[in-house]
């Protein structure tokens, strides 16, 4: 599988994004831009990637990812300077559901950083690109609202809706391919407060992302078993679903 030549990653310090970036770098990507919030952390990721792939040219852009004006400028600059083949939109957050129920500021942050912001980046890149692939990271949690994590799920469902709309639009009038990768629970800083022992490794998700960027399959669950689990979860009649606790 040949690597895409030029890549932009939004949420460049996300563990999953870093693992995907390493795979792309080692497979021969020549130009990479990391977009994120914290320049220090982005530079640490960039230094690691340069050591792994000395031929790779990496730069970093730090900004408030939730600011639509800053996002629009960063997207325009990335398109002009890189002409990316692949854009990975990987930023997000996961707050504790019970805390968000008590604290609407936290709930708003969840919806904005996990839903509104990724949708705006997706929209911006989709409008500016004529070809190539955009990979966004969704979640099985977006498939059906559950008591345990419905605000996180609502943000991911919002992203999925936007992806569906853009896929519909691309089918009619062309444009970049849009791919939604939905990782199951993964060992990462976002889930560090949970029991991570049975979660997927970030590397496994990265493999799924790299592959999805090539095949362009519209919706990819990683690991694949989640497609079937969520098929069952979505199909459960409400009366039955409400008696479950997962």
């Amino acid at each position: 599988m040949s690597a895409p030549d030029r890549i932009v990653i939004v949420g460049g310090t996300s563990v999953i994004a870093v693992r995907a970036a390493r795979r792309w770098a080692e497979a021969g990507t020549t130009r990479l831009r990391l977009v994120g919030r914290d320049l220090g952390k982005l530079e640490a990721v960039a230094a690691d990637l340069r050591l792994r792939a000395p031929e790779l040219e990496v730069d970093c852009a730090a900004l408030d990812l939730t600011d639509p004006v800053a996002a629009a400028a960063a997207i325009a600059d990335s398109i002009e300077r890189l002409v990316p083949d692949v854009v990975l939109i990987a930023h997000g957050s996961m707050h504790e559901q019970s805390e968000m129920q008590r604290d609407l500021v936290l709930a708003a942050d969840q919806l904005i950083s996990g839903g509104v912001s990724p949708v705006l980046w997706l929209e911006g890149f989709a409008d500016a690109m004529h070809s190539g692939t955009i990979v966004a990271i969704g979640s099985p949690a977006g498939d059906r609202g559950r008591a345990r994590n419905y605000l996180y799920g609502a943000a991911k469902a919002m992203l999925e809706h936007a992806v569906q709309g853009l896929q519909h639009r691309a089918a009619q009038s062309g444009g970049p391919r849009i791919v939604l990768v939905k990782p199951g629970p993964t060992r990462s800083p976002m889930t560090a407060h949970l029991d991570t022992s049975r979660m997927a490794e970030p590397d496994a998700i990265a493999v799924g992302i790299v592959r999805a960027a090539v095949t362009g399959r519209p919706v990819v669950y990683v690991p694949g078993i989640w497609r079937w689990i969520m098929l069952v979860v979505r199909s459960l009649p409400r009366g039955v679903f409400h008696r479950t606790r997962f």
Partner: protein, 435 residues
């Protein structure tokens, strides 16, 4: 809470597992906690040095970034969760490799330093601590200590081989070895007696970078074996073989390593190795890490798990002590697939609790069999102690305190550097002072 086992699969205690991904995360997870914890990586230690049953483990596998590399000097700076596998894979094709590697590449840099691991080149290069240039250590009170052989040398000496008990290693700088590529000129030499092993070993120390031998402990009280030696190849061209592996699929209900299977296996292995081409150019993966091709090979010892008994005894009595140990093993009827003999060199280790010393190291795997195993180990302990030797903490789950005290004379000095916020099952068993 999560069940965690080390490589020997001897226990499956519940732990609170806390993943750590960066320096900030390390600081918030590690400092100011109520009960003591322990930083861990890939759990390739055999015994309880990497366990803290009922307590907390900080999983540092996520701290795996390279920070800097100097193409002129080979100095690599990286986070503690970087694995030796990653270093070898990325740098070997650019002409650099780990200066020292143990027999598995699935170890983190932090774990390798905390156990001051050695490898097939000990006779020339010493252990990994001899190549560590700097360590960044986080104490659980929030203090960060930068130490090196010149800066805070006492902290450096306590931390190299310090079993993770002086603080959490966050980053380290290591000088890689310039090899020009991933290839090694390797050679297998069958031997038929211990004297022959010692002779080949003495000869090879000055001619070869790498040397180790497998010994058949089941035949005639252990005489024959295969001496494997190698040197960095001059011709480094070639296409690396594919990294193929076939995992051991499940844990059998009883150990497959028993008095019936071991002699059969050992005989077949000796014959195969003696017949095959003895000189070859080999990629570093099969040369350094033959067992990594069978992930989960530890399962083959069944649900009770297994011990590795690794000793070192000084040169003076090495031949006699080795012969006596082989005799005890033969008499016990507790066979071992893996009998490994290697001569250590004279490079002094830098750590207060470092295992290597000039002499001969002998490593053996035994399935856990309860009293029979205990009794054999007690007899082996006596031979090792009488010869002025010691046992390797990274492999140990059972040595008595007296054995540890006698083997590690700098223990008192080491204790002054221990972090009260850190503890392991091994430290409670052997290192912490008893009330």
């Amino acid at each position: 809470m999560t069940k965690v086992s080390s490589w020997g699969l001897l226990s499956h205690h519940e732990h609170e597992l806390v993943p750590v991904f960066d320096r900030q995360g390390a600081r918030s997870a590690i400092t100011g906690q109520g009960s003591p914890g322990l930083a861990v990586g890939l759990e390739r230690s055999y015994g309880d040095v990497s366990l803290n049953g009922g307590g907390r483990l900080w999983d540092l596998r996520g701290m795996d970034r390279f920070i800097d590399f100097d193409e002129e000097t080979g100095l690599l700076r990286c986070e503690a969760g970087v694995t030796i596998a990653q270093v070898q894979e990325i740098f070997s094709v650019r002409g650099w490799m780990m200066p020292v590697t143990p027999g598995t590449r699935f170890v983190t840099i932090g774990g390798a330093i905390a156990n001051d691991v050695h490898g097939k080149n000990h006779h020339r290069a010493g252990s990994i601590g001899n190549h560590v240039r700097a360590i960044t250590l986080l104490r659980t009170d929030g203090t960060v200590i930068e130490c090196s052989p010149a800066l805070e040398p006492e902290w450096f000496a306590a931390t190299v081989g310090g079993l993770g008990l002086t603080g959490v290693i966050l980053e380290a700088s290591i000088t890689l070895k310039r090899t020009g590529g991933p290839w090694i000129d390797a050679e297998d030499i069958p031997f038929e007696s211990l004297e022959e092993f010692f002779a080949i070993s003495a000869e090879s120390d000055s001619t070869h970078d790498y040397a180790v031998s497998w010994i058949d402990v089941t035949t005639d009280g252990g005489r024959r074996g295969i001496f494997t030696r190698g040197t960095t190849a001059v011709d480094q061209s070639g296409v690396a073989p594919r990294d193929r592996s076939a995992p051991f699929p499940f844990t059998p209900p009883v150990s497959l390593v028993n008095s019936l299977s071991v002699p059969v296996f050992n005989r077949a292995y000796f014959r195969r190795k003696s017949r095959r081409a003895r000189r070859r150019r080999e990629h570093y993966r099969p040369f350094f890490y033959p067992l990594d091709a069978i992930p989960h090979w530890n399962r083959m010892y069944g649900p009770r798990g297994f011990h590795q008994y690794q000793s070192v005894v000084p040169h003076r009595d090495a031949l006699e002590a080795t012969r006596e140990m082989l005799g005890e093993i033969a008499r016990s009827g507790l066979g071992s697939f893996l009998g490994v003999l290697k001569t250590f060199g004279d490079v002094p280790p830098v750590g207060m609790l470092s295992f290597p010393m000039p002499g001969v190291t002998f490593a053996l795997d035994f399935p856990e069999r309860g009293d029979g195993t205990d009794a054999l180990f007690a007899r082996l302990d006596r031979i090792v102690a009488d010869a002025g030797g010691r046992l390797y903490a990274a492999k140990d789950a059972r040595m008595p305190r007296t054995m540890f005290d006698a083997g590690y004379p700098a223990l008192g000095r080491f204790r002054e550097h221990m972090d009260p916020g850190l503890s392991s099952e091994l430290s409670r068993r052997l290192v912490e002072e008893t009330a």
